[in-house]
Structures are given as structure tokens and as C-alpha cells.
Amino acid sequence: MNRRDFLKITGILAIGAASHQTAMILLSSEVKGDQAKKKRWAMAISFSACVKREGCRDCIDNCHLIHNVPEFTDNKDKIQWIWSSHYESVFGEQTNMFTKGMLKNLSILCLCNHCENPPCVKVCPTKATWKNKDGIIMIDYHRCIGCRYCMAACPYDARSFNWKDPKPFIKEINRDFPTRAKGVVEKCNFCEERITQGLLPACVEACPEKALTFGDLNDPESDISRLLKTRFSIQRKPHLGTDPKVFYLF
């Protein structure tokens, strides 16, 4: 649905109002949105910078705090938007006998890869998850029926399901961001609500070592474009052809 169609629909509202007609217009945040070049948001995570602080969880905490991500005690109910895991688990297929020793216990930050070719979007039976024009994989929590097909389809385990009502498990509610109800799938949204306001994603902002770089791949002058042009990077499971938008730098 493009914006023109949308205006038409909202126009119907006014007709229904019969005697109290009024114009209603919905505007996009970017006024010049259509003219501006499409964004391709991406993130680069630097191994070397990330390991500098032992046990640092600033990015995770900040993200989970801002997005009201609950902390379940039971592992099977766990919901995570961004988390860390061992190198062998994350890059299992890029492990050899030497890396096993060298990179042992190296924590790798994981989050939704916002794939260019997302398997989760394809399988959704209600279009509750989709790729928006900036390449971010979105979830409409109002539409999700909780079939969890997308979870099965995601090769990165990036999606979590609300097995129970999350509210009691949220330590401190951030009232500017909605919580979720039980029964829907959720995941990292690349801080879509922040970047439309011109802010950086919560995790990027929180990192004391500036290990995370976020920016527009379509802009050759952006930090991230420059970084990826100059440094060696890998993606998770590239052989699956999903083309992740999260890059790992050496």
C-alpha cells in the first residue's frame, strides 16, 4: 500500500462522519521521504573492540531496557533481542582446529541480521513480519498470530516468542516503548523507532568501546560503508543466501 492509497482510505473516514466532515492527513516523518535515496541500514561489530572489556553487557542491557525486553528465569521462555554467544556456536561452519583454541570463549554479539533475503518474511502467513523500505525486518505485534513459523525459518535463532505474559518479567518499564502481549513473536528491530528520529540504535549508543558501527550501506560516505570497504568482515551463515546486514569485523 503506498501513501496515496492510504490517504484514500482515511478519506472514507471523513465521509462516514457525515455532518462533521474534516480533513485528515497522515504524514511520514521524512518530509522528503520519496525523493531521498533508499536507506540500507546495516551494522558492523568489531571482535577486537568488543572483547576489550570482560563481561561487558552494556549494549544488551541498554537495548533490553529501552525495548522492555523481559528477563525470564527459565531458559526456555527466554526472550532476547541482542545477546552474546561463543564463537564456535555462532560461526560453527567457520571453525577449524586452530580457531577452536584461539577463539575459545570469545563472546560474539548476536542480533537479528535484517537479512536482505529474509526467510522469516516469506513464511509468515499473515504478513505480520515484513521488510520495510529501509531493509529493516519489522514485526507487527498487532497482527502476529503466534504460529512461530518464522522462528523455525530463521537460521540465526534471532526470534523469540512470548511464551508467557512478559510484563511481570520486565524489571523496569520504559513507558515510551510498548511492551508485548503473550503469544506473539518479537525480535530486534534495529531501533527503527530511534533511527526515524535520527538517533543511533540503543546498543550502538551504549557501547563504551565503540565496537558497534551503524549506518546506511547505500551511502558510500557513511562510516559503515568506509569501514566495510577497508576491513575484512564475515557474515553468519552466508551460504544460506540470506545476505545478513550484520557484519563481523576482525
Binding site: 500500500m1 462522519a17 480533513a23 497522515l26
Partner: protein, 125 residues
């Protein structure tokens, strides 16, 4: 014959039960008073529309914001940020005095509050 008349009376009693019920609860003349924000004159739309159609406006807001990335709403009354917690409850800061009163009266239980938060200042009360 007696049974039928009895049944008829019973039926009429049941049919007129609502009358008694409201007298019993003492709400026979109750009409909820909705506390409009004192500092604001107009809502995002004309008040007549808002009274009848705020739910539909909100639904459109929801779809616009979530699915189409549209974050601003322009009406004759001005331009507004699309946000239930931020914009609506920003003015109608007291949900119990505003939303709930009428929703209870009309027997409507919207699910918005399952996820969307009541702003800090109300929740703190």
C-alpha cells in the same frame, strides 16, 4: 392457567429487571463525566468525530505508524505525532478518569493497554 399467568408475570419481571437493577445499583441517573484536559481546547480532530470514531482514528494511526512508517498526523487542528502513549495520553493524562469511565459505561474493553503503557505521570499516581 395459573401457571401461564405466573409464567407471564415472571417473564415481565425478567423483562423489566434492568429497571430494578439500575435502581438497586444506584446508577439510574448516572452518566459518566469525562474529564477533558483543561489546558487544551481541541483534540486531534473535531470532538464529535473523536467521540464516535477515536477507535478508528487510532486503528489508522496504528497501521500508519507500524506498517507504513508514517509518524505524523495532520488535521485541521494541527500536526500531531502518532503515538497513543505520547500524544493521546499526553493530554488525556488521566486514563481512569477519561478512557476508562466511558469504556466501562459502554462495556468496551480495548486491548490497547495490554502493551501500550500509561505515561509515567499517571502511573505514578
Amino acid at each position: 392457567m395459573k401457571k401461564i399467568i405466573l409464567g407471564l408475570i415472571l417473564f415481565l419481571l425478567v423483562a423489566f429487571l434492568p429497571l430494578g437493577y439500575n435502581i438497586y445499583t444506584g446508577k439510574k441517573a448516572y452518566i459518566p463525566v469525562i474529564k477533558a484536559p483543561e489546558d487544551k481546547k481541541e483534540c486531534v480532530e473535531n470532538v464529535f468525530i473523536m467521540r464516535k470514531r477515536h477507535n478508528i482514528v487510532l486503528e489508522k494511526w496504528r497501521d500508519a505508524s507500524v506498517r507504513h512508517g508514517i509518524k505524523k498526523y495532520v488535521s485541521l487542528n494541527g500536526t500531531y505525532k502518532i503515538s497513543l502513549t505520547g500524544t493521546c495520553l499526553g493530554c488525556h493524562s488521566d486514563k481512569t478518569q477519561f478512557c476508562d469511565r466511558c469504556h466501562d459505561y459502554a462495556g468496551v474493553k480495548p486491548r490497547c493497554w495490554d502493551c501500550h503503557n500509561i505515561p509515567d505521570k499517571v502511573a505514578e499516581k
